[in-house]
């Protein structure tokens, strides 16, 4: 099987964002069939002074090696995918994600993450989000022990 060489990841244009969080609502609709957003959203928009920043998985896939049951795989399109049915809810991926992008909601034991589906992009009224294709090799390598706990 050919290994995927590229993956689509989210790109954020803070200058366009007005903090309406429609993206989070769209995301929680995908993962939990609810418009609550917040802890049920894989994308997070955080207010920072007068501006906003986005916090989401960049598909670097360090978590792949953490999963004891093989529930995390890289799909053909390059996206890191968590198979809920295989997952046994150990939270190893949540604890070890160096950027805290593997999320856990109180609604269920299995975590969830951004799958680059584009629901947030389509929902954003200000076009502050887009999906861009990047080369997997160019995603910055991160070693666990250099990361702070965030």
């Amino acid at each position: 099987m050919d290994k995927p060489k590229t993956v689509k990841i989210l790109k954020f244009h803070p200058e366009k964002c007005d903090g309406c969080l429609t993206c989070e609502q769209a995301c929680s609709q995908v993962h939990f069939k609810t418009e609550e957003g917040g802890d049920k959203s894989a994308i997070k928009i955080i207010k920072q002074g007068d501006s906003y920043k986005m916090h989401v998985c960049d598909q670097r896939g360090l978590c792949l090696d953490m999963c004891p049951v093989g529930a995390l795989t890289r799909k053909k399109n390059g996206v890191v995918w968590l198979d809920k049915k295989t997952c046994i809810g150990c939270q190893a991926c949540v604890g070890f994600c160096p950027i805290g992008a593997m999320r856990k909601s109180e609604a269920r034991i299995e975590p969830f993450k951004c799958i680059s589906c584009g629901a947030c992009v389509r929902a954003c009224p200000k076009s502050a989000l887009e999906l861009t294709e990047v080369k997997l090799d160019e995603i910055p390598e991160v070693v666990y022990h250099k990361q702070g706990a965030e």
Partner: protein
Amino acid sequence: MVEGQIPIEEYETGNTKHRWDLKKIKTAHHIVKKYEYKKGKVEKGYANRTLYINLSTNEIKEKKVTEDMKKKFTGGRGFGLKLLWDSIKPTTRWDSIENELIITTGPLCGTTQYPGSGKSLCLTISPSTDIICDSNVGGFFGPYLKFAGFDAIEIQGKAKHDVVIIVDGEKGEIRVETAPLEETNSHLLAEQLTHMYASEDTDKSRQKISVVSAGKGAEHSYWGCLNFSFYDIRRNVPRLKQAGRGGLGTVLRNKNIKAIVAKVEQFDGVSNNPADPVTLAKVGTKLHREIRDLDRYQCNMRAVGTVHLVEIMDEYDLLPTENYRFGSFPKASKIYSPEFFKQFTKIIPDGCWHGCTMACAKTVDGFTVKTGPYKGQKVTVDGPEYETCGCGSNMSLWDPFWILEFNFYCDTYGLDTISTGTAIAFYMEMYEYGILNKKRCDGLELCFGNADATLELMHRIAKGDKAEFIQIAGKGIRRVKDWLIKKGWGDPQLINDCGMESKGLEYSEYVTKESLAMQGGYGLTLKGPQHDEAWLIFMDMVNNAIPTFEDKAEALHYFPMWRTWFGLNGLCKLPWNDVEPANNAETDEPSKVPEHVQNYVDYQNAVTGWNVDKEELILQSERCYNWQRAMNVWMGRGRRKDDWIPYRSMGPVTEMEYNSRKERYDKQLVEKLGLSEKQIEKMDTKEKIQKLYDYRQDQYQKLADAVYYRRGWTPNGVPTPQKMKQLRMDDPKMLKMLQEKIDEDEKAGLSIWGGKYGHGEKPPTIEKHYWEK
């Protein structure tokens, strides 16, 4: 893609592939007994029933777990003690028909969110010690047993022919099947049975099977361990973790059990049905993050496992070398952790239960076996762990590959590496002194460092070789000491001082000469000298944090109770203090790791729905700890005389040992014994050894006095009925028995303090019957 990342499906171990006719092997099975049960749900950590199998009568039944049983015994090892008390007699020995092999789980066992939550606790009457031995082990069996419906499995009686017991949680069925054609040795048997009983030919299916087995070595020695398998979807092999101590595997084979197989239908992160899964995930994730950020700078478990200890122990003169004569050695750097890191396969995760990110279970894949029946084959070696490396140094084997070879054969033969290594180290020392020689060893040149002879001894034990030495050697140090003395081959005192066993069990791998508290940590234990009750060397020797007898006694109360708690719950102890919060040193009691103690309080409450605090955790342990000691008393043991330890663990036995650390010992003669330097100059080494000998023996007895007093026992080490009542362990039969034993001791004049108290010194109390107040 991250450098070094290997997709699951692409990893190759390079191991020798075996092709078996599994159909033929399975067709040869004959069902001895089948028992159907109603599949149940685990509620707040408990399956609420245990499984009883009698292989002599073919009776299989379920026993209810009552609320009273949970309150008194918590679970895990506690349940095992309760089941044993109900089933055995004080005269029961390891090979008695009524002896049981018990595997228990514990309410927190099987949790996936908190690292180290997959331990099984195994109990039996040990061939080595003739009392209860408990041993904890990772692997998938415990969690699967519970998810299949049982908090414990209890096996009594003996099968007529070799059998496999299957706990089939998919069908809701227990089967006892004859198993004539399977291999006996674990690395092959676990693979055969994993493939045979998996519902589908997939790794996912194979991961739902766990096999408990022993091996040929367990059949022919008292060192039998139990191998618990956990199927690794990356390596495509069932890996093995060992319940090593006390001959559990010997009992398994004596019952003609080839293996016990547990199978689950499915499980997930909440199969324990915890009361509060949200808190559970929060506490677990917090620890995952701590391990992520700090392990690298602390124990480095994720990279090298427990082997990181080798260099530390060597540095502090604690690494047992040449049968504990020395604590460090010039060649030791050859087996430091970097040497093993080179061999370990660097793929993760390596937890022996899901979700353990401490991941200390390292392997060497594609290891080429050098000797014995599997010579030339390539295999996966699980380990070595620190203890196994310590056996290497103890036998003076300074080659990582020989340690791996030793490790591999111990595991597959079902031999405990610790007992095997410590015992062989003793035989080697006796060889050096000429007490043993080539003829007496049936042709083996068993001198320090002879790896070939070490392996040859193991192969011959596994083959059931009938030669006199081979037969007795496999029964361990205590039997060999008696044998050597009976033969009149050496000075009995030298033999008794050098043989590192207590209660009949071989020591694990730490030099305790300079830490009195740790001598107690090995000697004042329930099952024998194993470091799982207390590890106080640094606290005592390096940091001098517990200088008085009272301080040491307090530590020998708290830590054994605290560590016992893990075994009641089905947990591993490592995530408690082998990673510590960054600010731990600034807390009131760093040695207790207060934040992690609180984690465990929150964890137990989150699973069980109880509302306990940290004091209650200690009480849970104290109930079971005293119960087990009381059972030892019931079996005619559990007194001061049984807490005897060999002098090698207290101080220098030989002149060579004394002179190798002369400065240290001379200084102690001045500072501790009050001798003048002039007096010392006039003394020869023998005299100095004798002075130190008398002093240290007395120190140990004084320590025992303080500890018995602190634990609420009589001066002869018997738990009192008053203490048991106070703990609400009020079984009338138990209380009556204890009172009778105490009365017997009094009559025999044994209820007295053991230390010799001079000017300005006092025993813990002068009050008679202090426990009655």
